[in-house]
């Protein structure tokens, strides 16, 4: 064993398997404590907002302070429903993956508010550039879970025609951009989309999401910079769920520095938000969207949250972090917090909640059954493999035509031989 005398600093991970969860590093402001400046405020003035934590819901579930968006109960109930639907959908899809029905899945457990609240705070004309953990944006915008399931199954109704890994959805009609497997690439694309909106004189804005780990990529920097230079109407979201697969947020530069602070550092407004507080996420997103739409430029919003589950179905977090950290997470569960708030308002109760849950489970189960009827990757109806040659280009060029013919001959031979290898 060759250890050498090293002076290299290595970020500290708060707790490893077998140790007690330790979230003392998370800087938390009391609910209602952070001021809400006007949307046209100078970037410099947002420096404290990028360090403190914008929170609306207090421990009792009351909404307090200047960031309270004062949403009507119907909107709150819709948000609760969509967060819960996201969770029910996630749980179900996770199980189907375990059963081998789909090849891969990514849950957003514990982070539902980040997506669902944003979907409500943005306008339908605004273009969203999600990461793979923003299924809540699709659900919040009304993409049927059936459509998502068909994509997961790569079946005959798959919006991606079988070409993408599960969860790499898109929904052009609802203005949700195609998700990429390559981290952070959507970030400068969102800025370009927003620049185009400005060039065309439209007042749609763009919004994009990346995980805190992905902020290390070049695309994060390019997006921030182009947004700054052209004052692009875009909202740039960093979902700081503390982990990037096995790597703690300190390895993305989070030690003693918020991610939101990079906004003002480069000349964008910055907000650090309690990502498990539906109202805070809504309010911060609405503020940033209004700011962008009014021509004051982009905002970098850090959503502080926690990845309650595994990174994906290929991951086992018990190898690198204590089991059951989530209950110790100081910002709680976004679903429970909004539920408590609604109950406090007298707009909700446990019975209705149980009924909603049951209804959503039925809805998801029914959708799943229907999705399976369009085929799975293992059995049932299948997309024509020759589809694999479409959309490489708009028009099939001769070499792909030839290859498609070759494939068809090969498949015919396989059918003849009775084996496709």
């Amino acid at each position: 064993m060759t250890r050498i005398e090293s002076r290299l600093h290595v970020p500290e991970v708060p707790a490893r398997p077998g140790e007690e969860p330790d979230f003392s590093y998370v800087r938390i402001s009391p609910a209602g404590a952070v001021p809400r400046p006007p949307i046209g405020v100078a970037v410099r003035e947002t420096v404290p907002l990028a360090e403190d934590l914008i929170r609306v819901l207090d421990d009792e579930g009351a909404a307090i302070g200047p960031w309270d968006p004062k949403l009507p109960p119907d909107t709150l109930r819709a948000g609760l429903r969509e967060m819960l639907l996201t969770r029910v959908f996630d749980d179900r899809m996770q199980r189907t993956q375990r059963q081998g029905r789909i090849s891969f899945y990514v849950r957003s457990w514990g982070e539902e508010a980040v997506s669902v609240a944003a979907a409500h705070a943005l306008r339908t004309g605004d273009m969203l550039f999600p990461s793979y953990r923003n299924q809540g944006l699709f659900i919040g915008r009304g993409t049927p879970v059936l459509d998502l399931m068909c994509q997961l199954l790569s079946n005959t109704r798959d919006m991606c025609k079988g070409r993408q890994l599960p969860v790499m959805y898109h929904d052009a009609t609802r203005r949700l951009f195609s998700i990429s497997g390559n981290l952070a690439t959507q970030y400068p694309q969102a800025v370009g989309w927003a620049m185009a909106a400005a060039i065309k004189g439209e007042d749609h804005i763009a919004a994009a999401w990346v995980g805190e780990g992905s902020t290390a990529e070049a695309d994060f920097h390019h997006a921030m910079l182009f947004a700054k230079v052209y004052r692009a109407p875009v909202v740039l979201n960093v979902v700081n769920n503390q982990w990037a697969i096995s790597t703690f947020q300190g390895y993305a530069g989070g030690e003693q520095r918020s991610f939101a602070a990079r906004g003002p550092g480069l000349g964008l407004a910055g907000l650090r938000v309690d990502g498990n507080d539906f109202l805070a996420v809504y309010a911060a997103t609405a503020w940033a969207a209004e700011r962008a739409r009014a021509g004051h430029g982009a905002t970098l919003i850090e959503h502080v949250t926690y990845r309650a589950g595994a990174h994906s179905t290929s991951d086992d977090p018990s190898r690198y972090r204590p089991k059951d950290e989530f209950p110790a997470w100081p910002l709680g569960d976004p679903v429970e917090r909004l539920k408590k708030h609604l109950i406090g308002l007298g707009e909700w109760d446990d019975t209705r909640h149980a009924a909603l849950l049951a209804e959503l489970e039925t809805e998801v189960a029914a959708a799943w059954k229907q999705a399976m009827s369009f085929g799975t990757n293992n059995d049932g109806a299948r997309l024509d493999p020759a589809l694999m040659f479409d959309d490489v280009f708009k028009v099939l060029p001769p070499h792909l035509e030839a290859q498609r013919a070759e494939l068809e001959a090969e498949l015919a031979a396989a059918r003849d031989a009775g084996a496709a290898t």
Binding site: Q164, A172, F177, S178, D219
Partner: protein, 339 residues
């Protein structure tokens, strides 16, 4: 028709498209007020405004990333990468995103971006201003890759590229910007004026992407080439008084293999010439494809002439460059072989 240099022809193509199509925007380093380090965008910002001819930060990845987003929002961005040697920071956005946007979204989103970039040597640019990286794009499914060799094609192909609904990587052999170049660096520089392909219509026209051009008919041997090497090969063929057919590939992807194969089937001999390094270069694909198609017609092995497999060295530019002598020697050797 007007006499135009290749730079002027490219400028004219962009001007025509800016005027015709409000969706067209130009972006890149120094392309705006200044008009580009090679003057390809000269005058365009003053005529079409700083919102359509856009100076950018020095971030090739950002330029392409933003262009993809613009295209997804209905614009037709023409991005300039100042030198092809500096396109690599954008490689991920090009390969992982631009090339596959239509595919992965089953055409729900597309990215009709044109990326213009000057390539090739011969201007004393050393290893970082001389590269010909077409090979590392031609291998990527979903990209169209082209390289014109004269002003007429340059304008027509650039308009075709901008109008194309697929992304196009548009390589411009910078040694040809101001005149044809036959490989002799010691001669006075030639101008495009007077060259038949330097006669360019002022208005809109296209040269289709996906079509090679037989630039010299012949029967003894086929020379398959593109870019600057078209002129070098023509000169070498003339030097030798050879009855060679010279084919300008023009479009690397899609490749007009039929035109190439027809010629090789006819002549039975083939020399492939490009400026890029030889190993694993685009010439390898040409050789492999033509061999597959024309094997029974070949009277000699297909040969390649290319840049050596080294970076492009500043002091040895002309020993590196696959010049007339190298082409001549290869042709002589090829003609001596008898089946």
């Amino acid at each position: 028709m007007t006499a135009m240099s290749m730079v002027q022809a490219l400028n004219s193509a962009m001007e025509v498209m800016l005027a015709r199509d409000p969706r067209v925007v130009i972006l890149g380093e120094d392309v705006g007020y200044f008009g580009g380090v090679f003057r390809a965008t000269e005058g365009l910002q003053s005529r079409y405004g700083a919102h359509r001819v856009i100076d950018t930060p020095i971030a090739e990845g950002g330029i392409v990333g933003a262009a993809i987003g613009m295209a997804a929002n209905g614009l037709r961005p023409v991005a300039e990468i100042q030198f092809a040697d500096y396109i690599y920071p954008a490689y991920d956005q090009i390969v992982s995103e631009l090339a596959r946007m239509r595919y992965r979204s089953a055409a729900a989103f597309t990215a009709p971006v044109t990326i213009r970039t000057p390539c090739g040597g011969g201007i004393r640019g050393g290893q970082t201003h001389s590269q010909s990286p077409e090979g590392v794009f031609a291998h990527v499914s979903g990209l169209k890759v082209v390289m014109p060799s004269n002003p007429y094609d340059a304008k027509g192909m650039l308009i075709a590229a901008i109008e194309d609904d697929d992304p196009v990587i548009f390589f411009e052999p910078k040694r040809l910007y101001n005149g044809p170049f036959d490989g002799d660096p010691h001669k006075a520089a030639e101008s495009w004026a007077g060259h038949p392909m330097g006669d360019v219509p002022e208005g809109h026209y296209t040269v289709p992407i996906g079509k090679a051009a037989v630039v010299r008919a012949g029967n003894a041997v086929t020379v398959v080439t593109y870019g600057t090497m078209v002129h070098v090969c023509l000169a070498a063929v003339a030097d030798l008084g050879l009855d060679a057919e010279v084919v300008d590939v023009r479009s690397m992807v899609p490749l007009d293999i039929d035109t190439l194969a027809a010629s090789v089937a006819k002549t039975g001999r083939c020399l492939i010439a490009h400026e890029a390094t030889r190993f694993g270069g685009y010439g390898a694909e040409l050789s492999a494809s033509l061999q597959e198609r024309c094997f029974w017609h070949l009277q000699a092995p297909i040969q390649r002439v290319a840049g050596w497999d080294t970076p492009y060295p500043h002091a040895f530019e002309w020993e590196y460059f696959p010049g007339r002598l190298r082409v001549r020697r290869a042709l002589e050797a090829l003609m001596q072989v008898s089946a």
